[in-house]
Symmetry: C2
Subunit: 277 residues, 2 copies
């Protein structure tokens, strides 16, 4: 089969199960191609479609999700990851600890359970490229939904230290405290967006629409021993990655984080018992 | 490309436009394969997915349809064709005259406009097989949503007479009167489900779940000059068609009615001005 076919779901029929990704805007998400290719590879009779829905209409969307009997799962992207938790029946631990949801499954009795695979997907994406966080000094820039998920997942990997930076100091401090409570032995603290003193620099902050080429973190001091990761998906090659490459750093784009969580989300939608959430 | 690929939409992305078919149950509808094949043939970046939604949840579904910015159209099947009209902003003439909706488009300002392509699709399906209704004596069995659409479309084709039968006499009489008002010169009247005296027998009544092999119309008197059509889609080869074949009648299944309206519905969703509704 051609590559084009491999990126499509199996032929759609009225027996096809439905999953969706919701966001506002939605055209930045790369999920349909990744999920539909995975469905085809695994022979799953399902399709993932994009839904462009504003925040004020999320409650109605979830009511329709509950009511639509062949609709099994919902992937959640910006700006809905935090607010959508209020409408769910249950949060899995991965969603509770980061206060954000990026996947919702519907149980056979119609309950909606939110979880979060951003962190696990990020770590899986690093592993798939042969990188490790153990015993490294890590800087995470951006303490929003994705940043929170990634900070907790980074902490799980036993780095030497974790510095968290955000334009909102309070948000960075609060996230550092929350991670610290779960990982009492770890050196985690808020800090400035400055690569100096860090081996791994992870950008989780969205591009500033007013100055899209501005770097979210100073790379002064980063060199060929540094690993620089930008989870921004559009563009997948960001000004930060370009600047890091010029300095000789190892770089990684956000697409690995996405592909790293596809299999886990599919298991969550259809194959998990409660213990695997 | 293989036949399988031709039945798939173009590769899905977050820029893909969404259309859906809603019903309860939904697994009888053949629309996804037909529509998605048509999208691929025409290079339309859209996908049609099935939605299994009960009557009590239709109002919520339509609110979500309005709110979802990349969702452009909704195909409607049993049991929602009549009740869904109450939630729309406007009905096209084809929907008004039959009191049932089988396709809804969303205008750029978020209005929902219902129309009905069952009748036009049925006639188009007959034409595609080389049949005509002009100057023929036609019996339609079943005066529900599809029956109403088909009776009006049959009347448009200038038959010699039109007999309408239904298990509910009042419903048959009411439909005959409504068709008669629009076609004052046509001999249209309610009658019994009896092939005698008719050249064309059209079954629009659903199978009786209690006796699925019972014939909805007596074929006594039907012969090789008769054309017998059953719009039931599952099974596509019904006991009625089998009985007609045994008698030497020409037969036609419901799939032509469906394929006959796909192009018209696609135009309605994306290409029409108001005059073409």
């Amino acid at each position: 089969m051609t590559e084009e076919v491999l990126g499509l779901p199996l032929p759609l029929s009225c027996a096809t199960r439905l999953v969706a990704i919701v966001g506002d805007p939605i055209d930045q998400a790369g999920s349909p191609a990744l999920f539909n290719a995975a469905f085809r590879r695994r022979g799953i009779g399902a399709v993932l479609v994009p839904l462009h829905v504003a925040s004020k209409d999320i409650a109605g969307l979830l009511a329709t999700f509950r009511a639509t009997r062949n609709w099994d799962g919902l992937v959640v992207t910006v700006p809905h990851k935090v607010a959508i938790a209020d409408y769910l029946d249950e949060l899995a631990p991965a969603a509770r600890r980061v206060g954000a949801v990026n996947a919702i499954r519907k149980t056979s009795d119609g309950h909606l359970i939110g979880s979060n695979f951003d962190g696990a997907g990020f770590v899986q994406g690093l592993r798939s490229e042969g990188h490790t966080l153990a015993r490294r000094d890590v800087l995470v820039v951006g303490a929003g939904g994705a940043g929170r998920a990634i900070c907790h997942a980074v902490a799980d990997e036993a780095p030497r230290s974790l510095t968290i930076s955000d334009v909102d100091d309070v948000r960075a401090k609060s996230l550092a405290e929350s991670v610290s409570i779960e990982h009492p032995g770890l050196a985690v603290h808020p800090g400035t967006p400055d690569a100096r003193g860090h081996d791994v620099i992870i950008n989780c902050s969205p591009p500033d629409p007013k100055s899209p080429t501005a770097l979210p973190v100073s790379l002064e001091g980063a060199d060929e021993r540094s690993l620089v990761i930008d989870i921004v998906l559009k563009p997948s090659w960001t000004p930060l990655l370009e600047a890091a490459k010029v300095r000789g750093c190892t770089t990684q784009s956000g697409v690995h984080m996405l592909s790293g969580q596809v299999e886990a989300v599919i298991k969550f939608f259809w194959l998990t018992g409660r213990e695997q959430q």
